[in-house]
Symmetry: C2
Subunit: 344 residues, 2 copies
């Protein structure tokens, strides 16, 4: 029923991905296609470091997100409805670096990025640097549907959110003790580093971005990604999550993709779009393309992270080159599978 | 010596490109490869609408930019030096929508976006929404060279610019009478439009972005793009110019690209990166790939604009689907060619 793929990681020139091999498990479709796949971030995730309580919370949230999105699909609603329903639940859960549980920027604020893309129309929407929008994924969707633009930023994006009647909350709504401690930890490391104004971020600083890709009953794809970005981010740094083609992409003719990881690599390499390009131009399957892009392109460049990808036939791929990735999928019949570690 | 390409524009569903055919003229290399190509924006540019003085000013500025970049190349310096030298000159010239001559946002400020990418290392840098950096292209380059990030934004990007010792000026430095009149014109149209909070922008609102692609004596490529974005932009709108893979891309193995046009289409379609992907995966030449991406992919989606593309062999392509595009190139021997109209 299952087959294993081994991602062969090459010697990295610029950085050292934390694991050279990441086994991947793919579902046997058996006439029961995957209709929704989610991720909650990739990184140094091992059984030794995760408590039973955290594991239960993460798996529980992903299952809830998958069931919420599945309900949209079986009701015949657009793929973007399923993406938004799933991501909203993850944004509300403090286990993930998105929405409520997002990480702190260097100045002690929490700032969100999000994006969506619709595979049928090729339309997309995204926002970056908002501080008060409760569900950034809904803002990204409104940018797509109610503005002539793709990407809105900061105060301007919040002005648009207010005009659209979205829920705004004080920035303190997003302040969690755990993320505050992470910020202090990074800033302590920064102070003790000598001669470097800004040390390269550690992979865990970018852990926890959430994303979803859905396939509607009519056969259309949509993808979305939401994040708080990087712990201790400075200078208004924008990562890959709000960048169409880097962190998010969807095209019915190829696939939908959502990414998580060291965003700078995902932008330079255009990771999400590259999966679709390999399918369109090389005739690769979604799994061949996704596996190549993460296992070779990303890994050879020295980047760490993972992606979820789904094609219009309900074939899913979830490769990553880190120790683990929070991920899961639901099939049309409602079978839910969640995974955390590399050997699942 | 010259050959003509005709871009066959298809019926556009979402918008109507202003011209169905845009002839393109390519140089015969004859052992004298192109080492630098620049653009100054694509749009409704016809002889009837351009005064002799404007034509002289635009051609003169492009020639000056090409000669400045050429000097860097023949001195054996990196391709990025040539890109920066050329774009700085265009940023200082009020004829172009970049730097000093940039257009106004809806709130009466001028805000810049810029990006660079180095084809040898795959590294990239970009900034968006700065209001005081005199040469945004230099900021984009510093982001690439002196930060661990790819994209910085707004006040944070300016903090970084100050730390890097870049020249900052008051926003008024960028205020020109001509661009102020353009803003008033768009806002008048907006007020007279009924029932639409934000009418779709007209193509001319996004005219004038500048860009350059260079080929060093060592055979390395680099690309850069700089813009003021869209006249009357609201909600912190970010276009394609600072987005790696959309407005700018460079990879020694394929090509360097800089784009200009209706940015939302360039982001969704990942235009710059798509030229490289077609070369890498389909084996197309730089001209085949660039021509397809502009003449078919962009045009069929309803987008307007153009790109410049250069490969490591010094082969150049400059397709556009608008009436004209400010563009020019210089060969290794120093032969300079500038073009404005579609029939040149």
């Amino acid at each position: 029923m299952f087959r294993s793929l081994v991602l062969l990681a090459s010697l990295a020139l610029l950085a050292t991905p934390s694991l050279a091999q990441a086994p991947e498990v793919l579902p046997d479709l058996d006439g029961d296609p995957v209709v929704l796949v989610v991720h909650g971030g990739a990184g140094t995730i091992s059984r030794a470091e995760i408590t039973d309580a955290t594991e239960r919370a993460v798996r529980g949230a992903m299952e809830q997100a998958l069931r919420a999105g599945h309900a949209e699909i079986v009701a015949g609603r657009p793929a973007l409805d399923a993406v938004a329903a799933a991501i909203q639940i993850l944004e509300d859960d403090v286990e993930f670096n998105a929405g409520r549980g997002a990480v702190f920027a260097a100045d002690g604020t929490v700032r969100h990025d999000a994006s969506v893309m619709d595979g049928a129309s090729g339309l997309a929407g995204a926002s970056t640097g908002t501080m008060h929008v409760r569900h950034p994924i809904l803002l990204a969707r409104r940018v797509m549907e109610a503005s002539p633009h793709v990407l809105l930023s900061a105060e301007g994006a919040e002005e648009f959110a207010l005009e659209q009647g979205l829920e705004l909350v004080p920035n303190e709504f997003f302040h969690t003790e755990r993320r505050q401690q992470s910020l202090l930890r990074v800033q302590e490391r920064e102070r003790s580093a000598t001669g470097l104004a800004a040390p390269d971020p550690e992979p865990w600083q970018m852990m926890g971005t959430v994303g979803a890709v859905a396939l509607s009953a009519e056969g259309h794809l949509a993808a979305g990604t939401s994040t708080g970005g990087m712990t201790n981010k400075r200078w208004g740094r924008i990562g890959d999550s709000p960048i169409i083609g880097a962190g998010t992409y969807a095209d019915d003719a190829t696939c939908g993709v959502s990414a998580t990881g060291h965003g700078e690599f995902f932008i330079r390499l255009g990771i999400a779009r590259d999966v679709a390009a390999r399918m369109a131009y090389l005739g690769e399957s979604v799994d061949e393309a996704a596996t190549h892009v993460v296992g070779e392109t990303l890994t050879e460049a020295g980047g760490t992270g993972g992606i979820i990808a789904l094609d219009a036939g309900g074939n899913v791929s979830m490769p990553f080159n880190t120790e683990g990735m929070y991920r899961g999928y639901v099939t049309r019949s409602g079978r839910v599978v969640t995974m955390i570690y590399g050997d699942e």
